[in-house]
């Protein structure tokens, strides 16, 4: 078959990229080889637009065992314990087929974690949908939530935290990001680097079908009106088989049989084999007749590009084949030697005794295109609004309107579709600032959270990038954890557009600054570009997954009010920044202006001091102040507890709305027993932290003198109805 321009274009390759292929091969590729180049050179697999910027991120630290570049990041949590975690996007497939797209997103990220020798212990998700009156949103929400639950519930890993957001920017391109967290012995971590010649390359897991062919290429292009036709490129998930694969792999990992292991994710057999060979500076030869196939007469092209799920590639030590095979047979999984490592540094493909494709490994990996795309800076927007000119609204009315809005509503409709308790180590379930998972049979626990602030990032990417790292850090502190490291999922529009590329570059600079300052390095991540349809790009949405450590699970804390008469102290200064706030958006439909400033040294000082107070057991509950500002944070503290609050208005208050709805950063609310107040304020003052008394805990009513008095049950009902009425 002659490779025509049309065929090249259909493979998502640009003419100059095709010329480069011919140059590297010193000949024209055949269709199989072209398909392989297309799978490896697309944005999703090659990171060709992002690589030069990603390398600036801080990835090192005492706590880091393995940074980006492996299946997932690995951190040290003391003793022999390591935590392995990563977040990944499955945006494009989920928009086309929400249930399967979301389900396989969960499956894929779980494989990344257990491939490295970890037993997964928690799942998280960050899902963004279009506006709630968009005709597709309801169906997408239903499908994605049940898909996430369907996979995690079946395999038996608790889904413990997440965020669900709605904004018209995602009308034609939803975001589905899934994060998996696993626990491993730090001396038994498995990597993907191949070692040694003539070692058996073993295929294990499900059979290969025709699903997901060119899935990664689809995820590397914008949608257009024909996107609906792309359903066959979405993979179909089978959580039961994944469970078998996970148990079989973890069983095999008890022994020293595995040299290298890699899951078949995006671009399936192609990327897994190339990655292993590339890291090991070796060649790899595959006999494609041996690949277990689900359907008859599958072609080598289909086998190499299928993204069928629940498959792994393993390079085994000599003479370990028999024992390893026994394990996979016990779990009723395929186990077939399909190739070997070679010294040719080529990917060599054989079918029916003929060589049908041969490509130098480096042409697919290190020599893949690398672009330094043009980018433009985003100026800090001006503050043009005079609050006094805005339509007057009562504090109570604004609060209730915000509490019942889709984005601020109670998410139990979502989280009740997830099993949060299986594995019986979930110490803090969703609904708090972060979830807390105890390490099985030990005292220590980890805290996990996912966060994003797309509107801040849109308004000023540099500040937004900083803010989102701080928000994640603050959420971990608020449950009593020492923040250790993050994984990031960078969801952006079309990188060929300099404005979008600029959003990416500047968000990353912000991320870098905050991560460095807070010693909160990036250990894994994923970039998802081309989120948009017909030239309309989504707002920049970096999602941060954070992990922290609590030395003794008994010391975890949450945001629920604990006792009548306790005092609520606000720490951190309130300036009343309303631009980009929930209040401006929900009440006044204003979306202009700059995001709140981020002062990294305040952030660090406030957070570390709060953690110190928690560890000294001087605090009854903690909540960070984030979207919605002070009043929403206060309401959230009473929403799920039996207590309300009597809120005291400060003496000199320039503007009620600014004070209560402003989204200034680095602030927390602390609930303190009266007898501890002096000790607490002493420590705060020693650390130069501004603090003021905000409220007193009382029974039954959420109240502000002269403004409102709401029964806490009514408050709860207001917050809880949106999803059930949708």
């Amino acid at each position: 078959m002659k490779i025509t321009n049309a065929i090249v274009e259909k493979h998502g390759l640009k003419p100059d990229e095709y010329s480069k292929i011919k140059e590297l091969l010193k000949r024209e590729p055949n269709l199989l080889e072209l398909g392989i180049f297309s799978a490896m050179w697309n944005e999703h697999c090659s990171y060709k637009s992002s690589r030069i910027h990603l390398k600036n991120l801080p990835t090192k630290g005492k706590q880091v065992i393995q940074g980006p570049g492996e299946n997932a990041g690995v951190i040290d949590i003391g003793d022999d314990d390591a935590i392995i975690f990563k977040i990944e996007s499955h945006n494009h497939p989920s928009y086309i087929e929400p249930y399967q797209g979301a389900a396989t997103g969960v499956g894929g990220i779980l494989r990344d974690v257990f491939t490295m020798g970890a037993r997964p212990i928690a799942l998280l998700n960050s899902i963004h949908f279009g506006s709630t009156d968009h005709p597709k949103t309801k169906n997408l929400l239903n499908g994605v939530v049940s898909g996430i639950g369907g996979y995690g519930n079946c395999i038996g890993i608790p889904t413990v935290a997440g965020e669900t957001k709605f904004d018209s920017t995602y009308n034609e391109n939803i975001l589905v990001n899934a994060m998996a967290v696993g626990h491993a012995n730090k001396n038994k971590i498995f990597y993907s680097k191949a070692k040694g010649l003539n070692k058996s390359v073993v295929y294990v897991g499900s059979k290969t079908g025709r699903d997901g062919i060119h899935g990664a290429s689809m995820a590397s292009a914008e949608f257009d009106k024909n996107s609906e036709d792309k359903k066959p490129t979405v993979q179909v998930g089978d959580p039961f088989t994944e469970k078998l694969l996970m148990e079989a792999c973890l069983e095999l990992m008890k022994d020293k049989s595995i040299i290298s292991i890699q899951d078949m994710g995006a671009a399936g057999l192609t990327s897994s084999s190339v990655e292993m060979a590339s890291k090991g500076d070796l060649g790899i030869e595959l006999y494609l007749d041996k690949v277990p196939c689900r359907e008859d007469s599958m072609t080598p092209y289909e086998m190499m590009l299928s993204e069928s799920q629940e498959r792994m590639l393993i390079i085994l030590e000599d003479e370990k084949e028999k024992d390893a095979k026994k394990i996979f047979e016990k779990w009723d999984l395929d186990f077939v030697v399909i190739g070997k490592t070679t010294n040719t540094n080529n990917l060599t493909l054989k079918f029916k005794d003929k060589t049908i494709g041969e490509i130098p490994i480096d042409a697919l990996a290190s020599k893949a295109p690398l672009y330094e795309r043009k980018w433009t800076k985003t100026k800090l927007p001006e503050k043009k609004i005079n609050i006094k000119d805005l339509k007057k609204i009562k504090l109570e009315e604004a609060l209730l309107k915000i509490l019942s809005s889709p984005n601020q509503s109670n998410k139990s409709w979502v989280t009740e579709q997830f099993d949060q308790m299986v594995m019986t180590d979930t110490v803090q379930r969703s609904g708090a600032d972060a979830a807390v998972i105890r390490i099985h049979k030990k005292e220590k626990a980890i805290a996990v959270t996912v966060d994003s602030s797309a509107n801040y990032c849109k308004a000023h990417p540099l500040t937004g990038g900083r803010q989102i790292v701080c928000e994640s850090w603050r959420n971990l502190i608020s449950v009593g954890a020492k923040p250790l490291a993050i994984t990031n999922c960078l969801n952006f529009g079309n990188p060929e557009n300099p404005k979008i590329m600029g959003e990416f570059v500047e968000c990353l600079i912000g991320l870098k600054e905050a991560c460095e300052f807070l010693d909160y390095p990036v250990v894994s991540g994923n970039v998802s570009f081309y989120n948009g349809t017909n030239k309309k790009n989504i707002d920049p949405t970096p999602v941060i997954g954070g992990v922290g450590l609590i030395n003794d699970a008994k010391n975890k804390i949450n945001h629920l009010l604990k006792k009548e008469g306790n005092i609520i102290l606000q720490i951190g200064k309130t300036f009343g920044h309303l631009y980009q706030s929930v209040f401006f958006k929900e009440i006044h439909s204003i979306t202009e202006g700059p995001p709140p400033e981020v002062n990294l040294s305040n952030e660090k000082n406030n957070g570390e001091t709060v953690l110190k107070l928690i560890n000294k057991k001087l605090i009854a509950s903690v909540h960070d102040i984030s979207s919605g500002g002070l009043i929403l944070a206060l309401a959230e503290m009473s929403l799920s507890s039996e207590y309300g609050l009597k809120i005291e208005k400060p003496q000199k208050l320039s503007n009620l709305m600014e004070f209560y709805f402003g989204e200034d950063q680095s602030r927390y609310l602390l609930e303190i027993e009266p007898e501890n107040l002096q000790k607490v304020t002493k420590i705060l003052n020693e650390n130069n932290i501004f603090n003021e008394l905000i409220a007193i805990v009382q029974k039954n009513y959420f109240e502000m003198l002269g403004e409102f008095k709401i029964n806490t049950n009514d408050l709860y009902k207001t917050n809880n109805k949106w999803y059930y009425n949708y």
Partner: protein, 225 residues
């Protein structure tokens, strides 16, 4: 007391329930689904999970497995059998317990804490609970909507074969506290001899105050009584 936990390839609460049993000093053995003999057991547990994927009706394939033949024999000889969640579904598929577990009334997976009231405590599984005690348990299932014939339902009520019913925090058994649509708010049932208990809520998730509550402890300690 010797217990055996049956492990299907898709079981996912096997570790949790074994952990709970061992915490309460049971001598526990895990039994693989391909095994054809059972170790000597005073209690057999069929745990929660997705046995063989449950792509067919939940528990339908598991009910036909090798090891279930042995469980059926042991149960008919009077051995104590506890089926939790998927285990309950499997026991109804074998016929050891009558009735069936349909899809939840709202057709969605439901994972949350709920309350149940103890109705019958005069049996091996619940003797450490007080009658009409309100317990906090956790449920996590797609198909927990208990259904049976009118005659059998009457028999369950008349012969006091219902240990737990869904209720509110104060113990009121009302339709609005029925999470999944089960007939008469049934959360668990016995066979006639009361040596077999099937229940949708997970007692093994409630043996640690730090996680949620200790309300499941007495179910296991009753058996040791």
């Amino acid at each position: 007391m010797n217990s055996s936990v049956i492990v299907f390839p898709g079981s996912n609460c096997d570790r949790d329930i074994a952990f709970a049993l061992e915490k309460l000093q049971f001598k526990n053995t895990m039994v693989w689904h391909k095994d054809t003999t059972l170790p000597k057991s005073d209690l057999i547990v069929v745990p929660g999970g997705f046995s063989y994927g449950d792509y067919l009706r939940s528990g339908a394939i598991a009910a036909k497995s090798n090891i279930l033949n042995e469980v059926i024999k042991a149960a008919n000889d009077g051995c104590l059998v506890l089926g939790v969640c998927n285990g309950f579904q499997i026991l109804t598929e074998t016929g050891l317990l009558k009735g069936a577990l349909l899809k939840n009334k709202k057709l969605k997976f439901l994972g949350k804490d709920i309350y149940v009231k103890t109705i019958n405590t005069d049996n091996k599984f619940c003797n450490k609970y007080k009658k009409d005690q309100v317990l906090k348990f956790n449920i996590a299932h797609n198909e927990g909507n208990y259904f049976t014939s009118t005659d059998h339902l009457k028999e369950l009520e008349d012969k006091n074969l219902i240990p737990f019913k869904y209720c509110d925090e104060k113990g009121n058994i009302k339709e609005e506290n029925n999470p999944n649509g089960s007939l008469n708010n049934i959360a668990g049932i016995f066979n006639e001899k009361k040596n077999i208990l099937g229940m949708m809520p997970h007692p093994e998730r409630m043996v640690d105050q730090m996680i949620s509550s200790n309300d499941g402890v007495n179910l296991f300690s009753s058996l040791l009584n």
